[in-house]
């Protein structure tokens, strides 16, 4: 297969970027999108040219490192991670536009590589159960009903890739944050910090400069882990609950 690529090229965070055109041919339809870029890079290198920087690690759709916007859609057309997007999903001869994940909170580091550490900082604000390493109660002492378990797992499946943010016209991180809150606030272990968790996370989310949600639902449409929009409803509910209970510890942790 052959393709024309328009690839975002940017030397560093502080420099301007632009699109660069490349032609690639002889691509196997079963090659992944990233393998196609590997191939392009190998050819560029063979010609002594500058290669394109992009992020990836596991290449099996679980680490959340890969992060390309393909023809305007975070990760690409199929609601799977970029590394699980295959060239057979594109038309032979197509022109494909490749950009980094776009969002103000994700500054471009170089070419297609962005800085998504804002998501880590949201977690730092309370996306956990505070517990030290040490003796713990037997897990079966706090059984989790199947329905709850199901919801928790659906939310915990988040791989933190940030596609939700990149798809959001508001640059919001609600799906990500909602997934955290849903995961922990539904579990028995998460109850002691339940009231404060949503508030802390929302404060952190706002402090990182993410936008607010207007319920477009684009985040869920691109989420490779199919995190349901429901986690945002849950976040809203939990925030409302938390906001009623003034809790002085909130926010001081961040």
């Amino acid at each position: 297969m052959r393709f024309t690529l328009e690839v975002w090229t940017q030397a560093s965070r502080d420099e301007e970027g632009h699109f660069e055109r490349y032609d690639v041919d002889g691509i196997d339809p079963d090659a992944s999108f990233l393998e196609m870029l590997d191939e392009l890079n190998a050819r560029l290198a063979a010609e002594g040219k500058r290669t394109i920087a992009f992020d990836s690690d596991c290449r099996e759709g679980i680490c959340g490192m890969c992060s390309l916007t393909i023809d305007g859609q975070p990760h690409g057309p199929n609601q799977v991670t970029t590394c699980q997007t295959f060239m057979r999903d594109f038309e032979d001869g197509a022109t494909i536009r490749v950009e980094p994940f776009r969002s103000g909170a994700f500054p471009v580091v170089r070419d297609l590589v962005t800085d998504r550490s804002a998501l880590d900082r949201i977690v730092q604000a309370g996306g956990y159960v505070t517990t030290k390493t040490g003796p713990k109660p037997d897990p079966n002492a706090a059984p989790v009903p199947p329905a709850v378990q199901q919801k928790v797992m659906d939310a915990a499946a988040c791989i933190g890739c940030g596609a939700c943010v990149a798809a959001c016209p508001n640059g919001a991180a609600m799906l990500f944050t909602g997934a955290k809150v849903t995961h922990f606030n539904l579990l028995p272990q998460g109850q002691p910090e339940r009231a404060s968790r949503a508030r802390s996370l929302v404060l952190a989310m706002d402090a990182e400069g993410f936008g607010g949600c207007t319920n477009y639902g684009e985040c869920a449409r691109v989420c490779p882990q199919e995190i349901p929009l429901d986690v945002i409803g849950m976040l809203n509910r939990e925030y409302r609950r938390g906001a009623r209970r003034e809790d002085d510890t909130v926010g001081t942790r961040t």
Binding site: S12, D28, D30, A31, S32, E35, D38, A45, A46, G48, R50, T51, A53, F54, D55, D57, C58, R59, E60, I62, C63, G64, M65, V80, F86, R88, V109, R110, V113, D115, S117, L119, D120, V123, Q124, G127, Y128, V129, T130, T131, K132, T133, K136, P137, P139, P143, V144, P145, P146, Q149, M153, A156, A157, I159, G160, H183, L187, Q189, R253, T254
Partner: protein, 635 residues
């Protein structure tokens, strides 16, 4: 050199408690002044960092990914073992211990393995307390299943994302410590050397991968949790970035490297389909619980797999190993698959694949039940291959997956360099010559949560004074790091790193892979040397050293693989026996099973780096008091 494993006296059940009772402590008031560097934020690194920071030490954790959460542990699918006997089968610490020793083909240290089995139950408790959503039964109690070559259901799992959930548990515990100001995560940083001051590890030199800056980081103890080196084979189930640099650099500074030839080739991976391929994807071993492995009996079979009648199917695992059948340990399954493909019975475009068939399981249990158990794995398979495993058997082939070898450590997980610890897949410790399924994560977390926080404390309690980054050793090491980067950048050749890596992988897979022989290994060493030479004279790296430069990162890692590969061959050559994942063709029974030589090789080989480049082996004899040495049999 005498390798002292520092195994505590006393009965095996009491060794760890005895050690704990005797170990030196540091008062809470003094802990914030102590600094620990942890390289790696996988299961091992994140759990260690979180636990050390929670004790009150200042922790600096490093990872090359953009977030600690992306360490390759995230990809583990199948599960984690623990001797909790929730399934009421009479499972126990001793049984897990025995299974692990036997599974490792009697090449692991008994005391370490016992401790691992002993701590396994605590890991589950710890993880659940952190909010790790293990699968549960309808009653709400934790579910378990049996996994890869054991007869009890002691494997805990979270859908097909056990590694992810466990890592997120450890990661979030670490983030809590970051919020508390005790831990600092340096992401997009790569450790390029360890700094030794007065014979002790006192810090590292790291490269900021975004700016290219070379940084000095000081500590009282350094813990390496940098994962395994399967990527020496080029195509493996590991992540693109997984590498040996951290442990290799430590090796070159004096840490012994143990059993480098012990690598695990996982039987159930999606076969390679083309040159372009950058990695191999594992299909969880749990699939073998319900899937049946077979090939057509006729090498010239052309029929569609579903049209091949029962009598023309060769269920080779079930026939050769009647009692374990499809559930034989990985090394055995992988070799059997390779053997049938070598006989020309393989399927797929290049005839390097076998069927993993769910037809019978679906007929017996219904599609629903199978979907509930493996739905996401089936989806993943279909996404990658565009074949629907509900209707057509999967094709699988073995792929390099895990490395049992690693830095030699004593009972305290300390390497031969005082103050330098190695945990998780980076050390050689508990799996002998073959790791059982669902045991890697157990070991990573036992090391990280429960062992290394104690042993590092014990070590630091003896230290006095701290060092400064202006120490000559730091300047010297930094200079060497910079020089090497300059050397790489300055080669000015024409070939991209990937090309050399592919060559290296091919050599290793052919000659130091699932089966090895002396001639091949010697050949491999010559070929590796040639690739290394070509690498150092014809490498091309674009861009600059003072910016984000993936080619440079790749080249640096590859340079270390090119050195490690030779040591692996050397080790494989020296080990004149077959055991676990190490199969020497010269040492096999008549029906092709591995032939161990306990008399000469019931030992660990730990290699020392020397200035003249010729590695020197040191042996640590292995003594088996609890499990009688016996030939593994899964027949």
């Amino acid at each position: 050199m005498i390798l002292d494993a520092k195994i505590p006296e006393g009965p095996i059940e009491e060794k760890w408690d005895a050690w704990l009772d005797a170990h030196r402590m540091i008062g809470p008031g003094n802990r914030p002044g102590r600094r620990v560097i942890v390289v790696g934020t996988g299961l091992a690194g994140a759990s260690a960092s979180a636990s050390l920071a929670a004790l009150g030490y200042r922790v600096d954790a490093f990872c090359f990914q953009d977030s600690a959460r992306r360490a390759h542990s995230i990809a583990a699918q199948g599960g984690i073992n623990a001797a909790k006997d929730y399934a009421s089968e009479g499972d126990s610490i001793r049984r897990l211990f025995v299974d692990t020793i036997k599974g490792g083909d009697f090449r692991a240290r008994e005391a370490n393995v016992w401790r691992l089995a002993q701590l396994s139950a605590n890991i589950i408790d710890q993880a659940v307390a952190q909010g790790v959503p293990f699968n549960r039964e309808y009653s709400g109690e934790l579910a378990t299943r049996s996994f890869g070559g054991v007869l009890v259901q002691r494997t805990f799992y979270a859908r097909g994302q056990t590694g992810q959930q466990l890592l997120l548990g450890a990661y979030s515990a670490l983030q809590a410590q970051v919020a508390a100001g005790r831990a600092h995560v340096h992401n997009r940083h790569e450790m390029l050397d360890v700094v030794i001051v007065d014979g002790r590890a006192r810090g590292i030199i790291a490269r900021n991968l975004v700016t290219g800056e070379i940084e000095r980081h000081v500590a009282d103890a350094v813990v390496l949790a940098s994962g395994g080196y399967s990527n020496v084979f080029y195509l493996s189930t590991n992540a693109m970035g997984s590498n040996v640099t951290a442990t290799w650099k430590a090796h070159k500074r004096g840490a012994l490297f143990a059993n480098p030839c012990f690598t695990q080739i996982h039987p159930t991976c999606i076969p390679q389909t083309g040159e372009y391929q950058s990695k191999l994807t594992l299909m969880s071993e749990s699939l073998r619980n319900d899937g049946r492995v077979w090939v057509p009996r006729d090498p010239n079979e052309t029929r569609d797999p579903n049209d091949i009648p029962e009598e023309d199917r060769y269920y080779f695992l079930e026939e050769r190993y009647p009692s374990f059948g499809n559930l034989v340990p990985r090394d055995i399954a992988s070799r059997a698959v390779k053997a049938v493909c070598d006989e020309g019975l393989g399927v797929g475009p290049v005839k390097r694949g076998v069927y993993l068939d769910f037809r019978d399981a679906i007929a017996r249990q219904g599609r629903e039940a199978i979907a509930a158990r493996y739905g996401n794995l089936f989806d993943m398979y279909r996404r990658i291959t565009a074949v629907d495993p509900y209707h057509e058997p999967m094709q699988i082939y073995p792929a390099p997956h895990y490395t049992m070898g690693g830095l030699w450590v004593d009972y305290e997980l300390q390497t031969t360099i005082p103050g330098l610890f190695a945990i998780g897949e980076a050390n050689f410790s508990d799996h002998g010559a073959n790791r059982l399924g669902a045991s890697a994560m157990m070991q990573c977390l036992a090391d990280g949560y429960f062992i290394v926080p104690r042993t590092v404390t014990n070590y630091m309690a003896t230290l006095d004074g701290s060092v400064s980054p202006d120490e000559p050793a730091f300047a010297q090491t930094e200079r060497e790091v910079v020089e090497r980067i300059e050397r790489l950048m300055g080669i000015g050749g024409r070939t991209a790193p990937q090309v050399f890596h592919r060559q290296l992988g091919q050599i290793m897979l052919d000659k130091c892979g699932m089966s090895r022989n002396a001639e091949g290994l010697q050949e491999a060493m010559r070929e590796i040397a040639a690739v290394r030479e070509a690498f150092w004279s014809d490498l091309f790296i674009d861009g600059r050293a003072d910016e984000l430069n993936p080619s440079l990162e790749y080249a640096g890692r590859l340079a270390d693989f090119l050195e490690l590969a030779e040591l692996m061959c050397l080790d494989a050559l020296r080990r004149e026996e077959s055991c676990g994942g190490h199969f020497r063709e010269e040492h096999q029974t008549e029906d092709g099973e591995a032939l161990r030589d306990d008399e000469h090789f019931a030992k660990v080989t730990a290699w020392a780096h020397t200035e003249d480049g010729r590695p020197v082996p040191h042996d640590e004899p292995l003594v088996f008091n609890e499990v009688a040495l016996a030939t593994r049999s899964y027949k």
